[in-house]
């Protein structure tokens, strides 16, 4: 059977939560696909639905009070909507792996690091104890933990933040994933460590040939690491395209606003322009374009929800005025 060109395909994903304040629509119809080996950035503010989207790809959302619907939701050829628990478990940590934002909180504090990585290894590879141990040490070394034989016996709190994230990456690699989902992996780290982690990720991507879905709110990271970017707002993707195209000429006012609010070293110092207003609350029902209240270019047409239209050769935006906006 020929290998699929895409590692993930999502069509019209909708996720809602039941909350005390009503039903919160976290994801309001998201579609995208990830091609083997590519690095895609999923960008948005907190509350945009990006993390929920990522968790949906691994079906890691809680069962209670959550409604997940999609016309298509397939990862590594497995249809997540109908997959059995066993299939899901084989997928998670195996062909599809995820690393999280806060490495200190994501590692079990009462277990040794080597054991936690080893657990992932033994879950997804047929390995004897000694083989697994060897693999663990190898993985730790590969992600840059010095003296791995000794340090495998240490506990998470004995490592620095950057090292903990490396350990998480090691755990993710244990099953030789073809898709790595990274949810804000460096938000909790300082800039220097950030850079190191991304260098590591890029190296590994080249070495293992895996696709990376990077969730972040930081466009500068996207510029560094990703080839393609999806911009989310209020549960929808409002612009997508290659990094080159988007950064050169963002078509959606929101994307433009995001870019404008990043301080740039290569440009003369100027006032930072934030996007006015606040992000949409997930429980609000929205008529028309969700960005409208904050959009400097809002017009009457915006009372109707725009869909993603092709704007340029490598770019799509969901805005009625996309062609006019610089």
């Amino acid at each position: 059977m020929p290998t699929e060109p895409t590692v993930a395909e999502v069509e019209n994903l909708r996720v809602s939560f039941a909350t005390a304040a009503g039903t919160a629509m976290a994801v309001r119809g998201v579609s995208f696909s990830i091609v083997r080996g590519e690095t895609v950035g999923l960008v948005g503010e907190s509350g945009s639905g990006k993390t929920v989207t990522a968790l949906s790809l691994m079906k890691l959302l809680p069962q209670r009070g959550v409604r997940l619907e999609a016309d298509r939701l397939s990862v590594m050829g497995t249809d997540l909507r109908t997959a059995s628990s066993a299939q899901l478990r084989a997928l998670r940590g195996g062909k599809a792996a995820m690393i999280f934002q806060n490495p200190l909180r994501s590692l079990t504090p009462t277990r040794r690091v080597g054991g936690q990585v080893g657990e992932a290894v033994r879950k997804h590879e047929q390995a004897s104890r000694s083989e697994a141990t060897a693999k663990v040490i190898d993985l730790l070394r590969r992600v840059g933990i010095p003296d791995p034989e000794r340090r495998a016996r240490d506990y998470p709190h004995q490592f620095s933040g950057g090292q903990r994230q490396r350990i998480m990456i090691a755990m993710a690699l244990a099953g030789s994933p073809e898709l790595l989902i990274a949810d804000e992996p460096t938000t909790a780290l300082d800039v220097t460590t950030q850079a190191q982690i991304f260098d590591l990720l890029l190296d590994l991507r080249a070495e293992f040939g895996m696709a990376v879905l990077l969730i972040t709110h930081d466009l500068s990271i996207v510029a560094r690491v990703c080839g393609r970017v999806l911009v989310m707002y209020a549960g929808r993707i409002i612009e997508e395209g290659t990094v080159g195209a988007i950064f050169a000429r963002p078509r959606h006012p929101y994307t433009a606003g995001l870019l404008a609010s990043i301080p740039r070293v290569d440009q003369p110092a100027r006032k930072i322009k934030p996007i006015r207003g606040a992000p949409l609350d997930a429980t609000e029902r929205v008529e028309g374009c969700a960005f409208r209240p904050r959009c400097p270019h809002a017009a009457d047409a915006c009372s109707k929800q725009p869909s993603l239209e092709v704007i340029g050769p490598q770019q799509r935006a969901a805005c009625w005025r996309a062609r006019e906006v610089t």
Binding site: M58, L60, R64, S85, L88, R89, A90, L91, R92, G93, G94, A97, M98, F100, N102, R105, S106, L107, T108, P109, T110, R111, E119, A120, K123, H124, Y155, H157, Q158, M168, M171, A174, G175
Partner: protein
């Protein structure tokens, strides 16, 4: 690790001393002249003075304290004025009763609370709701009322089990068991309610931790996640509640002993306070204080065994 234990033990000693001071002080805070109370209604001033002298109450406070401490060091606990027996004898009679009661109650707690609290793993499930109902039920019903009702129905009406009295396990296990059932259930259910509440909440908290989610992301089954990633951290709140349980249980035995007419330590302490029985009060309170301190110490040490973060806090 050893260091940690040593440090904890050492720091417990001053606390113990403070406890001793408090135990001593309590008695002297009680209003009224103890000698007069002991002497009773018709005591003459001379008799009262004699009692005072016997108890050493006519000496300075500090002197009395020192005397008491030195006698303790020789394991001489003094005489109970009320019953004219040595405190040691009294304790030997009474403590086992209380300890057995607490022991069986704890068993009941463990048997009920642990399985029930596991309902938190699946919030809203039948087990979970049963756990909540269980804990609210036995918390609201006053312990002594429950005891009353139980002895009323099970003993008086139906004649199934004895309503009072005590038989030591060492003498006759079967009889002992029959006598213990009602009191232990009464105390045990109440304590179980507390533990269930607490454990349930703690477990809920743990299941929402990010490392649990990360463990699932590795492809582990729920069972594996529970056993390997949730169980150990759950031990910490478990220990905490066990520690507190001891204190609550001691208080509880006072009531249970009253309802079921058991001659236990709790009753001893209560009547001693009322009767101003000098040595019994002081020694008794000291025992309680010491028990609490020792329990806390044990709990702290066990924490360190379970949670490496605590262990390594010393060297970082």
């Amino acid at each position: 690790m050893i260091w940690y234990v040593v440090k904890r033990v050492l720091s417990a000693i001053p606390t113990l001393l403070v406890g001793a001071v408090v135990s001593f002080g309590v008695f002297h805070l009680l209003p009224g002249d103890p000698a007069a109370v002991i002497g009773g209604q018709g005591a003459t001033p001379a008799q009262i003075a004699a009692i005072r002298h016997n108890l050493g109450l006519d000496q300075g406070i500090v002197t009395q304290f020192v005397h008491w401490l030195s006698r303790l060091a020789h394991l001489d606990l003094g005489i109970s004025y009320v019953s004219q027996t040595s405190v040691t004898t009294l304790l030997a009679q009474r403590l086992p009763v209380t300890l057995e009661l607490i022991g069986t109650s704890v068993v009941i707690v463990l048997v009920t609370a642990v399985p029930l609290s596991l309902g938190a793993v699946r919030p809203g499930s039948l087990l979970d709701r049963a756990a909540m109902a269980w804990s609210i039920l036995w918390l609201s019903i006053p312990v002594f009322w429950l005891g009353l009702l139980l002895s009323l129905f099970v003993s008086v009406e139906w004649g199934l089990l004895p309503a009072s009295g005590y038989v030591s396990f060492l003498h006759s296990p079967i009889q002992a068991l029959r006598h213990t059932v009602l009191p232990s259930i009464t105390l045990g259910f109440y304590l179980s309610a507390i533990v269930t509440q607490y454990l349930r909440q703690a477990l809920l908290g743990i299941m929402e931790e990010e490392y649990i989610r990360a463990a699932r992301a590795k492809g582990l089954s729920e069972r594996e996640v529970l056993l390997r990633h949730a169980a150990r951290p759950a031990m910490i709140p478990f220990l905490t509640v066990l520690g507190i349980l001891v204190g609550t249980a001691v208080g509880g035995t006072v009531l249970i002993e009253a309802v079921f007419n058991l001659s236990g330590f709790g009753q001893l302490l209560v009547s001693a306070v009322i009767a101003r029985d000098y040595f019994v009060v002081q020694d008794g309170i000291l025992i309680v204080v010491a028990a609490v301190i020792v329990t806390n110490l044990l709990v702290d040490v066990l924490y360190a065994v379970i949670d490496p973060r605590i262990r390594y806090a010393e060297h970082g």
